[in-house]
Every structure is written in structure tokens, then in C-alpha cells.
Amino acid sequence: MENNPGTNILDEVTQGDYKFGFYTDIENDFAPRGLTEETIHFISAKKEEPEWMLQFRLKAFRHWLTLKEPEWAHLHHRPINYQDIIYYAAPKKKELASLDEVDPELLETFNKLGISLDEQKKLTGVAVDAVIDSVSVKTTFQDTLGKHGVIFCSFSEAVKNHPELIKKYMGSVVQYTDNYFAALNSAVFSDGSFCFIPNDVRCPLELSTYFRINAANTGQFERTLIVAESNSYVSYMEGCTAPMRDENQLHAAIVEIVAMENAEVKYSTVQNWYPGDKNGIGGIYNFVTKRGLCKGNNSKISWTQVETGSAITWKYPSCVLMGDNSVGEFYSVAVTNHYQQADTGTKMIHLGKNTRSTIISKGISAGKSNNSYRGLVKILPNASNSRNFSQCDSLLLGDKCGAHTFPYIQAGNETSIVEHEATTSKISEDQLFYCNQRGINTEKAIGLIVNGYAKEVLNKLPMEFAVEAQKLLAITLEGSVG
């Protein structure tokens, strides 16, 4: 008909969609603004680190100085002033009755985010490491996990308590020379999580880290290391949010996963950093290096990500399939709205024989955003009988956004098979009218259809995350059509 009923309703709901934009006024310890060798000494000293860790940081920093920010991604942003960032911010320790106790203000902050750090109140089988700005404030269920020999603690604790494991594995998958942001992270990383699953253990709980940026002008540089020894299994979840601010804040993390023989690691992310407002002001710049090494035969690493936040996302969770018969998986839903930009995808490097990888990527662009899939599938000469299947679909909502697909396929083995498929389309008017005719308004219909479109990926998320992710998709796209 002459009017488009959906338009007006949708226009009304464009603001205030980001539900986690509050700020908690906490007294903080800050590093001085800027980045020099002194900053690194300061961070290392604050964390009471051993000398070898300081040296690792300095080596990375000196290397970083020789690098240039990468420019190949389909992203445009104002230059980042690395001297204008505070590289360390930690809530000041208060006098508390016991060492295990957490500042109630912080507990309240996490409660508001829907993360309960109180083990008694926690219903589902999830252990949480809660990281605010540069430090981990609490890791739950450590005792329960300890009984099974599982180590789950903050990275700082691990440096103190398990130096041999950190020395052995840190930087073994993502070397500090890997790229610009990996070098930066290796120099200044503050905290993060460490998980170690010993031989023959199926981790009894879901492990989870929740990252929160709170302080202003700071960057967050966390580092996660997951080691799954032979015949072990772990499912790990990562969530993140930040306050709404007009400035852009930098987040440059590293995640390393090592899977030994027959081990399986499932890594799920719901990335919901503050995306900026509808005019593109503020938001997190998210430059993340995530990589898993399938070191042992028959090992498996699976990445599932739902990317709805951040002003800029630069992220390629990858698998290096070294062990024979190892399996890598990447399932991704990336949604961009307003002025968000995402350049995300994966790398699957096939080294071992009979290795398998699957890539399912669903991009959804709305508003004036740009959403790119960038992925590399590389089959090396020794990776005989390897297989890759990639399916990368893009959905466009509106005619002001962009959806791009940049697959790189390199094969040097005649017995391997690589298949890549991609489509770009929009929600059809027929689908919308069908829903309307059943009484469902346009906005709800888009939510339904988008969730249906992303279902293949959402199904891969642990239950705790799946519902959250579905809601998030609908919220992110509010006001996207009209």
C-alpha cells in the first residue's frame, strides 16, 4: 500500500539500544598515559612479575616499535594515538575481611551485567573469571575444578603459580612477531584467563571469562591461554561489554589455544563491546588475534562467535591443523548497524594429513555499516586428503550499507578438496509480507528472519549463550530498516 507501516515504529527505537552502557565509579590505579619502556616496567611491577616475563614484554615492545599498523582490512578509522592511551587501570584494592572477598561495588557491577560471581547463586554449571579493565577480580568454582586437576585462573595468577606452563605455552601459537596488535598486546597485556585441562579430563563445568572495560581513556589488552592435554575436553565462553562513551577505546587481545592428541576445545564468544552511537560517535576498536593450534592427532578446535558490538572489529579466529586428522571449525554471525565496521573471518591452515575444516559465516549489514568476511584456507603440500568447506553468506538490510566477501584459498596438495560458496541477498519482501499477514509486525519479522538466517551458527553456542545471542541480534538490528 502507499504507506510503509514498519518505517515509523522502527525509527523510534534507534536510540538507547545498548543495555550495558553504564559506568561504575570505582577508585582506580592507573598507569601514566602513553607507552614507553617505563610503562612496561610499571605494568610488570604492578603485577609483581618475574624477570622473564618483563623481558618477554620488552622484546615484544621493541619489535612493535618497528612495525606499522596493518592497512589491508576493509576498515576506515581515524589514526589511533598510541601515546594517548592509559595502558593499565585496576580497581584499587580495599581493606576486606578475607582475601577471597571481592569489593561489593565490583560484585554489583557484574550483577548488573547479569554475571553472578556468587557461587551459591549460580544455577548453571559455569565457572567465571571476571576481568574489569586490566585485572581479574574473581574466578569462581576454582575448588570444584581443582578436584579434577583443571586449572582455571587469571593470567597473572598463572604467571605466579604455574610459570612452567606459561613459559611453555605463552606465545607458542601467537608469537609476539605475528602482527602489529599481537606485538602490542605481548608488550602491555594486563590480565586474562588461563585454563589447563589435564590428560583424560572432560572439564565438568563450562569455563567463562567476562571482560568489562570500565575506566575512561584506557585500553584493554587481555590475554587468554587454553591448554587441553591429551583426551581432554573443554567448552569455554567469552563475553564482553563496555560503557557508552564518545571516545573510541582500544581493545587488543590475544587468545591462544593448544589442543593435544584427541583433545577438543570449543571456544564461544558473544562480543558486545559498545558499538558507538547511531551517528558513529564512540565505540570500541577491537583488534584481536585468536588462534588455536591442533597440535595432536585427532584434536579439534571449534570457534563460534557472535559479533554484534564494537565500532571496529578486526578479528580472525584461526586454526592451525598440525596433527593428522585434526579438525578446525569456525562459525560466525557478525552484525553491523549504524556506522559499525567489521572485517572478520578466519584462517584454516592445513598442515597435517586428513585434516578437516568447516567455515560457516553469516554477515548481516544494516544502517551505514560495512561488514566484510575475510578468510584464508591454506592447504600445505603435506596435508594430503584434507578438506575444507566454506559457506559465507551476507544479508543486507537497507541500501546504505555494504557487505563484502574476501576469501583467499591457497592449495598446494593434489589430494585435497576445498569448496567455497557464498551468497549475498536481502530479506525478501515476500517473507516480510508473509509474516505481516500472520499478524507479525515488520520489526519482529526482521528479528525472526535474521535469527533464522543465523540459526546454523547460533545452534553451535552453549545454551547459556544462545538465548542471549538471539536477543542481542534483534536488539542490534533495531532501527535498521526504514
Binding site: W72, H74, I379, P381, S384, S394, L396, L397, G398, D399, K400, C401, G402, A403, H404, T405, F406, P407, Y408, I409, Q410, A411, G412, N413, E414, T415, S416, I417, V418, E419, H420, E421, A422, T423, T424, S425, K426
Partner: protein, 492 residues
């Protein structure tokens, strides 16, 4: 893969012959780029002798660009997988006018594809060779001939069209071509003319030294016209050469353009082939790039769909072996609504051959109702053959249907076994499957006689029986010896 491997092709390898090695050693003095800049500065008068002012201005701008940017290198994203330095750092001879000693081309070579009646344009070592050196005007009004002559006769056409599509910023090869090119082919199809005969450009390299050869072609199709061009790049000796061709094609409203590119060079030669096609509303283009031999071949095909409802079919087939390398860079820009494009490249790689495919479909914001399809399929026959496939999409319009795919694999082992169980030898089964794989592209060749000939060439190529002959690598002139697989089809 089983033991009875038959290579795509066996050509006697002469790179190790002492004489060639000696020649190469002598020549390794000044890199190509430096030589060209030097030549431009010292022989500017010779280079611009036949120019109209607009072209001279263009040359200067292009040379400035070349001086600041040079030839691409493998550190450029677009050239990462093609080691072009191995050619551009060589020492080549570059002539600014034809040598008196050029033989009459007809003595060297005669192309006679059976039943395929064409107007033939021959370029020998980069020079337009024709007894009537001027322009040929056919009864239906089609004009063709030497680019240099056409520039003198039709300055207004050159001012309007020449150099507008070939962006000198694309890469150093385009800029150095614009700056220094001396000859090439001009073809003009007037409005409403349906060209019955295909025009065939045959480029031959036959010089006993390392030659750098540049050509520039300008092709204009008027409204409602129709025209087919066949463009053959051949070498007839074993000396290394580097050919740098730039072709600009304007396809007018409702005009139909067919392009067949046949590339069959010796393994020491490099070919940089940049084709820019501009399409007006309701026009169609069908381009077939058939690469059978060549040391290093780079095809840049840029198609601009500028008018509504235009359609482009961009097809390619590459059959490479030894250490041959082919790099197809296909950029299709959808700039108007309701346009469609269909891109399909297939390749078989044997020995240590390598191939690159980079398809890029760009859909502009206003290009609604675009329908674009892109596909690249590869078969690797050996552990040392490699492929880099990059099918890209960049899309800014929402009401579009775009899809792409890429596959890398090998011959279907089940089909192989099935055929062997029916008594077909495994080598024949391999041939049949490879041939079947190529058929999708060959069947798209709409000129019957040409399709038969290419079909025959592919069979020979796959069989490994096609080798460089004394006069022409193509073996086109022997219609009586049509090639058949020695297989009893009734057994399948």
C-alpha cells in the same frame, strides 16, 4: 593418483641449452624499468613522432606515474602470488620502430582454421605488418588497421576514446604502455553494423633476442552493432620475450561483443594482458580467455557495466604444466541497475604449474537488481602444483543476488573407477574426466568452427601431444587430422 601419469604436455626444454644461457648472461645488465625511462627521456621525439597532442600529454603523465611507481612487485597485494620481478628485472631489447629485416609474416605463419573465415591482422614482434600498411575499410563500413595510422586519420575518435578506460594508476604495465607504446590495432564498428566475419589478431614473437613488446588496441563498437574478435598471442621461437598489451573496448548501447583470447607462448615468455571493457545499456560482452601455454601470463580484465541491463559473460580456461604460471585478475564493476554478470574460470594444473584467480565483483550503491555470479574451479594433478583462488565480492546495493564459489579438487576417483571397471584404461579415464571438466567453458564458444578447433586443441593439450612446431604452435592448419580419443565410447 595412479602411476601411469600422463603430463598435460611435453615440450623439449631448451632453457639449459648453452647458447641461450650465454645470451641471457650478456643481457643481464639494466633492469627493464630503468631502460624504459631512459629511452623515454632520450628518444622522446621518436616516441611521440606520430602523436596527436592529446596522446603526447597522456604519455607524459603516464611516464611521470611510472617514474614514481615503477613496475609492480610481489609486495603489492595484487601481485603477491605472481613473481613479476623475475621478468621486470631482466634486460630486454625494446625497439621504437620496426626493423628493416622483419620478414613478411606470411612466410612465417599462416593461420587457417578450417571453416573459420576471418579478417586477419598480424603483428610481428609488436608491429603491424600488412602489405597495405594503411587502414582497411570493409564494405559494411568497418574500419580496421594500424593504431598509429588510425590516430592520424581519426584524431577526434582518439580524443574521445583513447586512454579513457586504461587507468594508468592500475599498475606500471598500463602506465608504461600508455607512455611508450608505438603500435597496435584499431577497430571501428559503425552503428547498426553486424560484423559477419570475426577479426583475428595474431601476435607473433620471432626474434633471436630478448624482446620487450608493447601493443595497444582500441576497439569501438557503435550502437546496435555486433562484433567478434579473436586475439592470439603466440611465440614461434624459444627466446624469452615480455609482451605488454593494453586493449580498450567501448561497447555501445545494445551492442554485442565477443572476445576470444588464445594464449600459447613458449615457457620463457611473459605476457601481461590488460583488457578494459566499457559497456553501455543493454549491451552484452562475452569474453573467453583460453590459456594453454606460457611462462608467466597475467590477464587483467576490467569490465565496467555502465548502462542499465548490460550483461557480461567472462569465461576462462587454463591448462598449465611444467613451471608455467597464469594469473587471472577479473574486476567486474556493476555501476548501473539491472545488470548481470557471469564469471567462470576453470583450470587444470600439472607438474609444478601455478595459477592465481582473483575475481572481484563490485556492486555500486545504485546498481540495484544486480545479478552477479562468480566461480572458479581447479584441478590439481600433482603434489607440486599450486592454486591461489580469491573470489571477492564488494557490495553496496541491497537488492542484489550475488553468489560466488571456488573449488579445488582432483579428478573424481569414483568416476575413474567406474570407467576402469568398464574396461577403460586409467590414463584414458583421466583424459576423459579432464576433458569433461573443460567442456563447460569450451561449449560456450559460440562460433562453431572455432569451438571445434579449440576443442581439438584442448584434447591434444591434455594428451600431451601438442608441441611447438616449426612455424606455429597452434597446429590449426591441419583440419584433416582431427583429433579423437582412442576410446570406444560404447564401453562407457
Amino acid at each position: 593418483m595412479n602411476g601411469s601419469k600422463s603430463s598435460i604436455m611435453r615440450v623439449p626444454d631448451i632453457t639449459n641449452s648453452p647458447k641461450v644461457m650465454e645470451n641471457m648472461k650478456l643481457l643481464k645488465e639494466i633492469p627493464l624499468g630503468e631502460m624504459l625511462i631512459d629511452r623515454f627521456q632520450n628518444q622522446f621525439d621518436v616516441i611521440t613522432a606520430n602523436d596527436i597532442p592529446a596522446v603526447t600529454a597522456m604519455r607524459k603523465e603516464a611516464m611521470n606515474h611510472f617514474i614514481s611507481n615503477g613496475f609492480p612487485s610481489s609486495s603489492d597485494e595484487k601481485w603477491r602470488h605472481t613473481e613479476i620481478e623475475s621478468l621486470t628485472e631482466e634486460n630486454f631489447q625494446y625497439y621504437l620502430k620496426p626493423l628493416d629485416s622483419e620478414q613478411d609474416i606470411e612466410d612465417l605463419f599462416k593461420c587457417e582454421v578450417h571453416d573459420f573465415d576471418t579478417e586477419i591482422i598480424s603483428l610481428l614482434n609488436g608491429w603491424y605488418v600488412n602489405k597495405h600498411a594503411g587502414l582497411t575499410t570493409l564494405p559494411n563500413g568497418i574500419v580496421y588497421g594500424s593504431l598509429t595510422n588510425a590516430m592520424k586519420l581519426y584524431p577526434e575518435l582518439f580524443e574521445q576514446y583513447y586512454g579513457n578506460l586504461a587507468d594508468i594508476q592500475v599498475n606500471g604495465f598500463v602506465s608504461v604502455n600508455t607512455a611508450m607504446v608505438q603500435d597496435g590495432v584499431f577497430i571501428y564498428i559503425p552503428d547498426g553494423v553486424y560484423a559477419e566475419k570475426t577479426i583475428q589478431i595474431i601476435k607473433l614473437i620471432d626474434k633471436k633476442e630478448q624482446l620487450f613488446v608493447q601493443n595497444r588496441n582500441l576497439i569501438i563498437l557503435g550502437k546496435n552493432s555486433s562484433f567478434s574478435l579473436m586475439h592470439c598471442d603466440d611465440s614461434i621461437n624459444h627466446f624469452s620475450s615480455l609482451i605488454n598489451t593494453v586493449t580498450e573496448v567501448y561497447v555501445g548501447e545494445n551492442a554485442h561483443f565477443n572476445l576470444y583470447k588464445l594464449q600459447n607462448l613458449n615457457n620463457q615468455s611473459g605476457l601481461i594482458n590488460s583488457t578494459f571493457i566499457h559497456q553501455e545499456a543493454n549491451s552484452t560482452t562475452k569474453s573467453n580467455t583460453l590459456t594453454f601455454n606460457g611462462g608467466m601470463i597475467r590477464n587483467n580484465i576490467n569490465i565496467d557495466l555502465q548502462g542499465e541491463n548490460a550483461h557480461a559473460d567472462v569465461l576462462g580456461l587454463y591448462l598449465m604444466d611444467k613451471n608455467q604460471h597464469v594469473d587471472n585478475q577479473i574486476y567486474i564493476k556493476h555501476n548501473a541497475a539491472h545488470c548481470t554478470s557471469n564469471e567462470k574460470f576453470k583450470g587444470i594444473l600439472d607438474d609444478e604449474a601455478s595459477a592465481v584467480f582473483n575475481g572481484y565483483i563490485y556492486v555500486a550503491r545504485n546498481a540495484q537488481k544486480t545479478n552477479a555470479y562468480q566461480n572458479n574451479n581447479n584441478i590439481l594433478l600433482t603434489p607440486k602444483a599450486t592454486i591461489n583462488s580469491m573470489p571477492f565480492l564488494e557490495i553496496y546495493a541491497d537488492d542484489v543476488k550475488c553468489s560466488h564459489g571456488a573449488t579445488i579438487g582432483q579428478l573424481d576417483q569414483e568416476a575413474m573407477f567406474y570407467m576402469r571397471q568398464r574396461g577403460i584404461s586409467s590414463s584414458n579415464a583421466r583424459l576423459l574426466l579432464m576433458y569433461a571438466f573443460t567442456a563447460e567453458i569450451i561449449n560456450q564458444i559460440s562460433i562453431e568452427a572455432l569451438r571445434k578447433r579449440i576443442d581439438d586443441m584442448v584434447k591434444k593439450r591434455l594428451r600431451g601431444e601438442l608441441s611447438v612446431c616449426e612455424k606455429c604452435v597452434l597446429h590449426c592448419g591441419s583440419p584433416d587430422k582431427e583429433y579423437h580419443f582412442e576410446i570406444d565410447m560404447s564401453k562407457i
